[in-house]
Amino acid sequence: MDQEELNKLYDDSILQENRQPYHYGKMPDADLTLEAYNPICGDQFKLFLYTDEDSIKTAYFHGYGCAVSKASTSVLTRELEGCTIEEAKAKCRDFLNWLSEGEGAKVNAPNSWESFAAVRDFPGRLSCAQLAWETIAKEL
């Protein structure tokens, strides 16, 4: 059995984000609460945003999903903080483009995204990585 691809998907960074996600928890007093629902598996995260004027001060998330979706939501949550709403949406669109088009997408991909590149070899799991980013891109 060739474990290389597997090790790329489940690399240290994704496993670590999954085990100890950033700002994982409910935040009932958030100004904005979004639901990221994946109909393929039924998994679901709530995204809690605390905004000041037009920018996102703090972000939390909570819910249930696979390692890939949890890690990707964790990374997203961290990167949302400090963005304006427009910047947040643009960032998510960038991530989704980069994820589907690879290095061809003219997008400045931060290091934190690199681990998710492996998802491209797992077409059945693409929606896991996209889940929360798509919700922000489309519904914020």
Binding site: M1, Q3, Y10, C41, G42, Y64, C66, A67, V68
Partner: protein, 441 residues
């Protein structure tokens, strides 16, 4: 974590009969001059069992509850129809049309005999289980159900035997009641007895749970329903082809199943219905072949089964379903069943050895379906890792979302065996699970 899977009361659940040594996979099945003398012979009939993945590993297929592989006889039947026969059926008097019609109707007779229906006209070809349930819900039940009536299903039902009833109940102002299960995943019989009153017009129940493998005692339940004047539809999608079904002995009113889960092609299924009910039911779809006479003002419909087979039916697929039944006959349903049970016992024992593995569904009577969780690894992560290890399983809610919710689970990993699987297949499943554990800790 959402894991609220109810605690196990060991005593009520599966008593694993230790399998000691493996049932002999190469055992002789028959001594007649059939082509298929052993399970190894039977296995060699499935070309897709040799399929390899992109790393040249043979793919171990443990997703048989979703769809089974197809034996050469079935594939050849399709090829033969399209290469040497191919014609539209009925109303044709040229050679090809006559041949196609006679093969199509012969296949109906094979189904009739296979499920022991009284008459050929009780066998209606559909496009699958889902279509069969919808047909009954939208014709028979549409006429029968009045506001305030009850429709009874179980929490085990596949969406296909739930949504049509949920929809109908909402439309008619009827009540949809749901039989719960015990901690082992068996129907809760006291609840069932309490709920199955004469207010229940229709009981729609699965024979075998596609998620947990539970085999329901449908014969007894149908008897109880009869005594209340309740009509019964049985979802036999998971049983026909693996377990004997005798509709006269069961005395159910309707029974539905799919060709693709019994070694036949996609696009074909069967609705069995009692003759007198089918006669009284209105048609579902309208079109060619289902009429006696048509005028602009008025149409007179044909008798069953044709009344329910509007338009050009899935001709080649119906004929190939007949070939699947022939194949099952060649192997012997009793051998298929025994092999399934042996694989189940072996797999259950083997997986139980993995620390942190939690079986989901421990009914005393089970088909060869093993649902499980491994520690807190998400089912889809497990399935991905297993796939890389060459093992095809399914993960998720298995089209039984309410069941999963009632179990407090986000889904399970499901390994479902067919008689052509081997002990080595299950060994490999175990290896994959151990790998997953290693990755996740």
């Amino acid at each position: 974590m959402l894991h609220r899977y109810p605690p196990q009361h060991g005593s009520q659940c599966t008593n694993l009969i230790s399998i000691g040594k493996r049932l002999n996979f190469t055992q002789q099945l028959k001594n007649d001059n059939s082509e298929i003398q052993s399970i190894v012979d039977a296995r060699s009939q499935f070309p897709n069992l040799n399929r390899q993945d992109h790393r040249d590993n043979r793919i171990i297929y443990l997703d048989n509850a979703a769809t089974t592989h197809k034996p050469q006889l079935v594939i050849d039947s399709l090829v033969n129809h399209f290469s040497n026969q191919n014609a539209n059926i009925h109303r044709g008097i040229h050679t090809l049309a006559i041949e196609a019609t006679s093969h199509y109707e012969e296949s109906r007779r094979k189904v009739q005999q296979f499920i022991n229906a009284r008459e050929e006209s009780e066998v209606i070809f559909t496009s699958g289980t889902t279509a069969g349930v919808n047909l009954v819900a939208q014709t028979f039940a549409q006429q029968q159900i009045r506001p305030g009536d009850e429709i009874l299903i179980s929490i085990l039902e596949h969406h296909s035997n739930l949504l049509p009833w949920q929809q109908l109940a909402a439309q008619k102002g009827a009540k949809l009641k749901v039989i719960p299960i015990t901690a082992c995943g068996e129907l809760d019989m006291p609840s069932l007895e309490r709920m199955l009153t004469s207010r229940v017009k229709i009981l729609a129940l699965t024979h075998i749970s596609n998620s947990l493998g539970t085999i329901n005692p449908i014969r007894d339940i149908i008897k109880m329903a009869r005594s209340q004047g309740t009509y019964v539809l049985i979802d036999a999608a998971q049983s026909v082809g693996s377990y004997p079904i005798d509709v006269q002995d069961l005395d159910c009113d309707f029974l539905v199943f799919s060709g693709h889960k019994m070694y036949g092609p996609t696009g074909i299924g069967v609705l069995y219905g009692k003759a007198e009910l089918l006669q009284a039911m209105p048609p579902w779809q309208f079109g060619g072949e289902m009429i006696r006479s048509v005028q602009i003002e008025k149409t007179v419909f044909a008798a069953p089964p044709h009344k329910f087979e509007a338009g050009t039916p899935p001709i080649a697929q119906a004929i190939a379903l007949g070939a699947a039944i022939d194949f099952i006959g060649q192997v012997g349903l009793e051998h298929i069943q025994a092999q399934n049970q042996a694989l189940l016992a072996y797999g259950t024992e083997l997986l139980a050895e993995i620390p942190g593995l939690q079986l989901v569904g421990k009914a005393r009577h089970k088909s060869a379906i093993i649902s499980f969780m491994l520690e807190d690894i998400h089912p889809h992560d497990l399935a991905t890792i297993l796939n890389q290890a060459g093992v095809a399983v399914r993960a998720g809610h298995h089209c039984t979302q309410p069941l999963m919710e009632s179990l407090g689970l986000p889904g399970t990993v499901r390994a479902s065996m067919a008689f052509y699987n081997t002990y080595e297949d299950i060994d490999q499943l175990k290896q994959g699970l151990l790998l997953a554990k290693k990755i996740f800790t």
